[in-house]
Symmetry: C2
Subunit: 669 residues, 2 copies
Amino acid sequence: MTNPLVFFAPSGKRGRFPEGTSVLEAARKLGVDLDSVCGGRGICGRCQVEVGDGKFPKLGIVSAPDHVTEWNAVEERYVSKRGPLAEGRRLGCQAKLCSDVVIDVPPDSQVHRQVVRKSAAIRDIAIEPVVALHYVEVREPDMHEPSSDFRRLQEALEQQWGLKDITAPLESLRLLQWSLRQGLWSVTVAIRHKREIVGIWPGLHEQGVGLAVDIGSTTIAAHLCDLASGEVLASSGVMNPQIRFGEDVMSRVSYVMMNPGGDVELTTAVREAIAELAVSVTKEVGLNSNDILEMTVVANPIMHHLFLGLDPTELGGAPFALTIDGAYQTRAAHLNLPLSSGAYVYVLPCIAGHVGADTAGVVLSEGPYLRPEVSLVVDVGTNAEIVLGNRERLLACSSPTGPAFEGGQISSGQRAAPGAIERVRIDPVTLEPRYKVIGSDLWSDEPGFDKAVIRTGVTGICGSGVIEAIAEMLLAGLITPDGVVDGAMATRSPRIEEDGRTFKYLIREGEPRIAITQNDVRAIQLGKAALYAGVRLLMDRYGVAAVDRITLAGAFGSHIDVKHAMILGLVPDCELDKVGSAGNAAGTGARIALLNASARTEIEDVVRRIEKVETAIEPSFQAHFVGAMAIPHKSDPFPHLEAALGVTFKRGSGDGEGGGGRERRRRRG
Amino acid sequence: MTNPLVFFAPSGKRGRFPEGTSVLEAARKLGVDLDSVCGGRGICGRCQVEVGDGKFPKLGIVSAPDHVTEWNAVEERYVSKRGPLAEGRRLGCQAKLCSDVVIDVPPDSQVHRQVVRKSAAIRDIAIEPVVALHYVEVREPDMHEPSSDFRRLQEALEQQWGLKDITAPLESLRLLQWSLRQGLWSVTVAIRHKREIVGIWPGLHEQGVGLAVDIGSTTIAAHLCDLASGEVLASSGVMNPQIRFGEDVMSRVSYVMMNPGGDVELTTAVREAIAELAVSVTKEVGLNSNDILEMTVVANPIMHHLFLGLDPTELGGAPFALTIDGAYQTRAAHLNLPLSSGAYVYVLPCIAGHVGADTAGVVLSEGPYLRPEVSLVVDVGTNAEIVLGNRERLLACSSPTGPAFEGGQISSGQRAAPGAIERVRIDPVTLEPRYKVIGSDLWSDEPGFDKAVIRTGVTGICGSGVIEAIAEMLLAGLITPDGVVDGAMATRSPRIEEDGRTFKYLIREGEPRIAITQNDVRAIQLGKAALYAGVRLLMDRYGVAAVDRITLAGAFGSHIDVKHAMILGLVPDCELDKVGSAGNAAGTGARIALLNASARTEIEDVVRRIEKVETAIEPSFQAHFVGAMAIPHKSDPFPHLEAALGVTFKRGSGDGEGGGGRERRRRRG
């Protein structure tokens, strides 16, 4: 009698095994991706498979449910505890081969399952665990052979899981003694990179969770993820408590420089906030912060240094030397974070003194290095981080856009929060505006608008609102291509008002009055010119005249209307349907690094290959900056945009107040 | 013209190099052991060599001082700062080859120099640095190429020292920024195992020090060593502050079992004591505790666990399961020890639940595994740890000797301290005793004795004194081979006094009266029988009837007179000149592990190979114990001893009070 043939779908791997071999065993020997935490004891239920029923002529197999052994007592016990399996499923560790059979491994039984991202994403996240759970039964101590608890655990891990020379930190060793006895010599250990114990529980423990953290200058966001499924179990955010030491990162660096010990205060503040997030986000799903087995972090360079406890002072001035740029990992306990006994924190690499681990997260999430076409990825904040390139070559720089895009230095500006005007349209004939406010889906000229905004009021205008307003003002002829609010238009609309020696455009009457002043336009021009100049610098360096794709990342990038951004000349011309926003791509990058071990080496390699361009010392930056002061640009063509809008832009002279304001604005966070 | 030939002594390595190659460079290329911290910059002076002058016919070389380049300005600068070099010496990095030459590398210029041990030692300690110092010049930060301080340091270490992928803990990274700027882009880094930074200083730093610590139940000893020369710079000891929780280790385990959190108290106490030792011992030589780059620790299993913060409760009862037995290393900061920023603590492996890292230290120091002859190594304390074997095979056990050897449960007993009787002789004719007291070199019957002991008084008798007294009593016929103080001898000497229903022998009249009572003899018999039974168990297991060499380790072992110990039957018969004491061999083992990286893997391997014997469950232990109650032994022959003394021992029945006392005494520390 021949050994039965087993064919695994979807992997296509096949092989013959002696009758009585379990499906799980066969899968392991063939390298088929079939999960298991309990190691084949029929208790974790991770190895569920479907047994093919029918003829598979291409495979030459006739498969049937009874080509594996019958439903057994272990499976009976499993379903009595956990509820029934889905129709047609078996526990792979219990079903044993009798004759030729086709076995389907459903996605939820695969270790390397894909995590489906909600938004239209460029790449899915595949699971490739950094930390995996392993249930083991450990030999009891024996006076005849006095090996230690840990050595017997090591032996069990080697025999039962093929894991050799596993190490453990003292914190885990402290728990080992208790866990072994509590679990009657069975424990589950969480093992990191197949090397080191980072968590330990008596008996079977099935869920491993990790935390992806995005430390922004203003807010800190944390996503609690199931390390096996990739599912986001809970998300939470808090204000960065460092704000009490300074609104933007540069004022925090100043605080450190002026106050001995200030760096320690800032470090403590950010770590405490993350510790609280870890507690609250786990509590939300009935877990404890010490269930967190791994944490990943993205942050801008100054937040990165402060989080790690490194003095950020050098990042406050030229030559902006980072203390470290590579990815860094250290124990959570070392950072005073209340995670699992041996948990590590992995911090993504920084790219340069102004281009941080947050940008590395964006790059990992958006994957411009995977594609043949040339992508432009821009993370717009007080500084814009700009990445340009493709799988051949990638460039990055940072450009000091100033606070205008976040509503700073704008007469009616405010942060993007309920009550802020975020969308603006201007009728080119009547010159009358309409707008939308965060918190309502209605335009201001639609019925019910006033009622809809009663709760929030209309409190100001945020960055995306200002950008749309100025772009619409250009299309309506209310400002010149040089950015001058055209006083002559006062004859056509009462909304053009004198404002000292300049003019402004009134968007909203009432309290507060909201207008776009000449100074507002200038502030936005300075910011967008800086950003555009940075982009052009990279395009020059790369040697392309146009880009194939543009992604706007970050909170601001996800609110902005890409068409208006392009009209303003924030980004270069591109096919409009190739321009999109990526939302919190930095946070997504942290999640990918949390779930996928290879993604870490991938982003580390990519970041090392990125060519860093320092805008401050590039002679051509100034010329690009001046050209980009015009709206959309003094000379650069916008053929795709013009075609889409059916207009031809007039060109400005680009000699507005360019250089002067620039140095004042360098490097705010 | 041919390239000059250089011959290095004492290594015998030779090679031809282009004219102008420095002696240091040539040495490195040939793998000659020539030290350097500054990397050939003429500032550290570690690479001093002697240039041969004369004919070397066997080598075919005529060597002369002018066969290397002339004394140069760098050497001039060096001697102006550091004082002259020894006659005939040059800096190897400055002297460059001109023609054929013989170069002698003096021992103090070798990295792997031998450390000469003071006492007659079985093996010398060779230096093989775990941590080495490297001076590097680091590129300044550059906005055109924004790599971090750490990356530029890594590059410098690779280029200047061939050290790749060096890592650093956050603590060192914190110091890096400051050190680079303070040192004008030159720093010295201490690198551990050619991998990881554990210390950093601006500019050149020449001395690396480490600490070897022996945590005893009673005292903690620390030796500060120069990591390059091996020299002990300072030694210091303190009482183990855990004594306030219990005199012996078992009472400390009881404390932990009875008091929740007691383990943390005990852990904190021992770590604080070590921290204070680290501070005081470095202060003594003008250093700071954070100059300590590496620490090694030996300790018995309970001290080992408490030091590492592991619950020792399991070690309080069968099956005496250790939490870990392998060597363990972790950062000093992790143990709250104030050493260098990245310093590690390496703890030697434990052998079994009663045979700890201290015994591993003894084994490393005494090296029984290196020799063909069968050695017995005994570390006598409240428990005796016994190691038997040779390079083929090594066995170990622990035997519960009880407190008698340390003066406990002895009527006039005391610890070995000034005032204690440590030597006793009894005239076999007059039956009069004479004795020596710790603190004086005079015998009690010598002139001036009374004056010599005025300061200390005569306060009691310590373990070695009791052993000598009982051995002498046997030789004088005052006790029978069964250990009965012979009342009949009262007719011959007034020093034999009635003591209830038994008799005692008076060693000293006056205050305090010091006598050896029948109970004292019994206590010593129980202890020595336990020890001897353990030894015999190992000899049986090994299959030898006699041992070739005996070493007594530990404080007690170094005070004991080997002949008297053998008369008592503490150890088996052996050629007397093959019996010796090793002093604090455990501490020496810690020192070896501190100075020599290979010694660590060596002892780890040896310990794993040691066969552990658990006396408590060996059926033959009891029989051996009973036989060993007699003095010297009921039946075992002592031919070497008898020949040396010119006597033939009578044999006792060995049925004194054997087994009963044993369980009471198990496992005190």
